[in-house]
Symmetry: C2
């Protein structure tokens, strides 16, 4: 399904919630506001804290705030904090040199890596500030380059010698 995990979803919801104010929010309060169970909320926020997405303050009057302004935090960063690096395929993990056993003779590897990069870029550019308002549709569109003609030509004869 190409889906982010539930925990990651919670993370985006919570982080977006934090974007609303600069006051520290206790995990318990955020749980009440979002309806997400408190232990789970706490777990997610701890992970976000370790990843540097949110800052934490212990003790009474403590809580969580965003580590930086909302418009400087891309949701890719939030996703990565919970799930690790974005990698659409096993071979497109840019952090580790993860080796797929089929890699030596795999013809689609290079293209998957480019697709992965595009997704990564798109999610990096959408910030928590964007998520707080319904304007994302004006920000993200997938555009084909002017090489459409070339592609169509190649597409007509995929078995041709196109080296």
């Amino acid at each position: 399904m190409l889906r982010i995990s539930k925990m990651t979803d919670y993370a985006v919801v919570l982080a977006t919630h934090l974007a609303a104010t600069k006051e520290p929010h206790a995990a318990r309060d955020l749980a009440l506001e979002t309806q997400i169970p408190e232990p789970t909320t706490s777990k997610v926020l701890k992970q976000l804290s370790r990843a540097g997405v949110v800052a934490s303050q212990r003790g009474a009057k403590g809580g969580y705030t965003l580590a930086r302004p909302a418009h400087e935090i891309g949701i890719e960063e939030v996703i990565q904090a919970i799930e690790g690096p974005i990698a659409v395929t096993e071979c497109s993990d840019e952090s580790t040199d993860s080796l797929c056993e089929y890699e030596p003779n795999c013809g689609v590897r290079a293209n998957w890596q480019r697709i992965n990069h595009a997704v990564h870029q798109a999610l990096s550019q959408i910030t928590l500030a964007d998520m707080a308002f319904p304007f994302v549709d004006t920000l993200i569109t997938i555009a084909r380059s002017g090489k459409e003609a070339e592609r169509a030509r190649l597409g007509e004869s995929p078995q041709g010698d196109a080296h």
Copy 2:
């Protein structure tokens, strides 16, 4: 990690392999060419067949061919054949009215659905003919619309009353 399953990866590799010729390929032959184990290859191809991505011919001299020309089959279709509808979040499944329990008071739902739609579009436009050659980078780019200024302004004051 926002990853497609291994089976889906195999499906794209196999389908791209089929794009090279119009002759029927037996599952066994494809398995040898791609190094993917034969039972797994067979399973994946059967799923692709049921989804209408590939056509099958039983009996001696039989095998699999693409159901349509390679440049008419988007990889989104291949992914969907194995994993079901693309849905980045639970609420962004366009096929079913899947209801998330947090949906009523979730502020990021609309934006996730737009992101999901963009990803869906991008993967639909990349065809098997594209995957057979390293030209995808010329085809997919993420573009921001001209509303960047508006966004930046909003991003500066996410806590402001922007209703």
